[in-house]
């Protein structure tokens, strides 16, 4: 396929720009002009449409096929949620902040308030802010809330504890908020080493960030104890909601002892994930942290109408207006449509699917932590490695066979990791066809390993040289 620049023919255009009837301004000084005109592509509308339609057909998405990318929760979102998102396109966000404005946007304000209440109910928190624009932004907001809490108590704590299986954004968010990171290794039972955790805990620790179930797809049986140990030392406990999909309607993090949570609307609650974004990472807190939530807050008056109030003790604004509103509208529709029973079914089916996948594949693939998993399971290609086949080779082979590969080489605490998350929206038939190809890959690894090294062979480009791409980076396009 050609680049759009290669399709360019001088003078060709898709539109005719009207002759300007505005008098010409003085030309830019020579020093500000480029020496030659930019070599922008000149194509007709039809060339353009065919080019981008052609590109789109080379795209892979959950709309075209199974996308078992572990840790990412690439579930299918019903198209009706897109309609919910577009319902409010005419409502300008600044209206809610103008004098007399809130009475004109009661619908959107009630939706924000309603979503906050839904998320508080689901997570067991007391209040929620919808401002953060992504999961990592939610982490940053949550950690800033925690910092504000300690500061208000006259404490200047230095450390944030994270287990080594945590998402990389956890330590990054805490470090950006000014904390030093203490990493706790994984114990043989697949979760944070409790003894190492106890040893690291002291009155200088501001917070512990936990993902539960963790990145290995394992629910931490010691979670209540971890919260207790942290609280005894005056530290707060942060719940990374990336894997909330596994426990909807089953466990409420707030009931277990967590003080702060972020949820990924774009993973768990029916809004697009990946290129389809944008994201949304609402943050929920227990009552002792409510004063530090970002400003402003949507409030419900005694007469049942909604207003906007400043939140003076809070950490300030973390986004314009109230966050990614169209995404919130989708999530509100998703939660309202599914209701309590529906959300419970979501988590049950997500966990059942992952366990089915785990049970069928563990004959051929090494399962480092062989216990009932939650919404995802992590294999290792260590058996295939004996024949010189790496996780990346299996991943590339899956592309040839029509599947998006699972996540590979993550989490970092599993060698040659292959991390599979089927999500609740996939049928047994789809999973069976994926399992068949995974088993076939194991067979090829045993008998004809070189075939896997050559994969993929059906794609527009074959195996990319990732090392060279990283070492000889060329991101500059000369126009």
């Amino acid at each position: 396929m050609k680049l759009i620049y290669e399709l360019s023919v001088s003078g060709r255009s898709g539109v005719r720009i009207p002759v300007s009837d505005v008098p010409k301004a003085a030309p830019l000084p020579q020093s500000l002009r480029r020496a030659e005109p930019a070599a922008l592509p000149e194509v007709a509308e039809l060339d353009l449409v065919r080019h981008f339609t052609g590109l789109s057909r080379r795209n892979y998405s959950v709309d075209t096929n199974f996308y078992p990318l572990g840790s990412c929760t690439m579930k299918y979102n019903a198209k009706v949620m897109e309609n919910a998102g577009s319902l409010f396109a005419d409502s300008h966000p600044v209206l809610a902040l103008l004098p007399g404005g809130p009475e004109k946007v009661q619908g959107p304000l009630s939706l924000i308030h309603g979503l906050e209440q839904q998320l508080a109910e689901i997570t067991g928190m007391d209040e929620v802010t919808t401002q953060p624009l992504a999961g990592a932004h939610g982490e940053m907001t949550g950690i800033m809330v925690i910092a504000a809490y300690h500061k208000a108590r006259g404490q200047n704590r230095r450390y944030v504890i994270v287990p080594d299986s945590s998402h990389g954004t956890n330590p990054a968010s805490a470090a950006m908020a000014g904390y030093e990171i203490v990493t706790i290794p994984t114990a043989p039972y697949g979760d944070m080493d409790l003894d190492a955790f106890r040893a690291a805990m002291n009155d200088q620790v501001a917070a512990v960030m936990m993902t539960c179930p963790n990145t290995l797809g394992i629910f931490n049986p010691h979670i209540a104890e971890i919260c207790e140990i942290a609280h005894q030392a005056g530290a707060l406990v942060y719940y990374d909601g990336a894997n909330l999909n596994a426990i909807l309607g089953k466990v409420r993090p707030g009931d277990v002892g967590f003080d702060v949570i972020h949820v990924n609307l774009h993973k768990t609650f029916g809004t697009p994930h990946g290129g389809g974004g944008p994201g949304s990472g609402p943050v929920g807190v227990k009552s002792h942290l409510i004063p530090y939530l970002p400003t402003p807050r949507v409030v419900k008056g005694a007469d049942g109408t909604f207003g906007v109030e400043a939140h003076p003790e809070g950490i300030g604004r973390v986004s314009d207006f109230f966050g990614n509103f169209a995404i919130m509208a989708r999530a509100f529709a998703y939660i309202t449509m599914l209701g309590r029973e529906g959300l419970i079914e979501v988590s049950e089916q997500a966990v059942l699917n992952a366990n089915y996948m785990m049970a069928r594949l563990k004959e051929e693939y090494e399962l480092p932590f062989d216990i009932t998993c939650m919404h995802e399971c992590v294999f290792s290609a260590s058996r295939q490695l004996k024949d010189g086949v790496h996780a990346i080779d299996i991943a590339k082979y899956l592309i040839d066979r029509g599947f998006h590969p699972p996540t590979v080489y993550f989490p970092l605490n599993v060698k040659e990791a292959i991390m599979i998350e089927p999500t609740e929206t996939e049928s047994k038939q789809t999973m069976d066809s994926f399992i068949a190809v995974m088993l076939e890959a194991a067979e090829v690894a045993r008998t004809r390993p070189e075939e896997l090294h050559d994969a993929p062979v059906t794609t527009p480009v074959g195996r990319l040289d990732e090392t060279r791409a990283a070492r000889a980076l060329q991101v500059c396009c000369e126009l």
């Binding site: 970092l412 990732e466 090392t467 990283a470």
Partner: protein
Amino acid sequence: MAKYYTKEHEWVELDGATGTVGISEHAAHELGDITFVELPKIGKAVKQFDTLAGIESVKAASDIYAPVSGKVVAVNDALDAAPELVNESAEEKGWVCRLEGVDAGELAALMDAAAYQQFLKGLE
């Protein structure tokens, strides 16, 4: 002087109070093709087991921890242009930096080559 190793797979080799630091052959192999080494700033003071530098490969980005306390007095600039030196020669040409003011007593918390090899066997 002999090399001493950490559980996080760094090595240090002392010459008086100056220690040369890098990552082990094993670590380089496990990381795969190294694409970038984030060298520490000259003058940076580190405590033993604190984060010293960063290293990225096609598989992962990792921290390099200081095997001993000291002050950075030299860095291996060659790694800027040729990070693959770490893959080719992790424990010689692929050294990362030199630390000054090292207390040899801290070596007690590290492993010698034989103990490190034994440690690696335990990881398999």
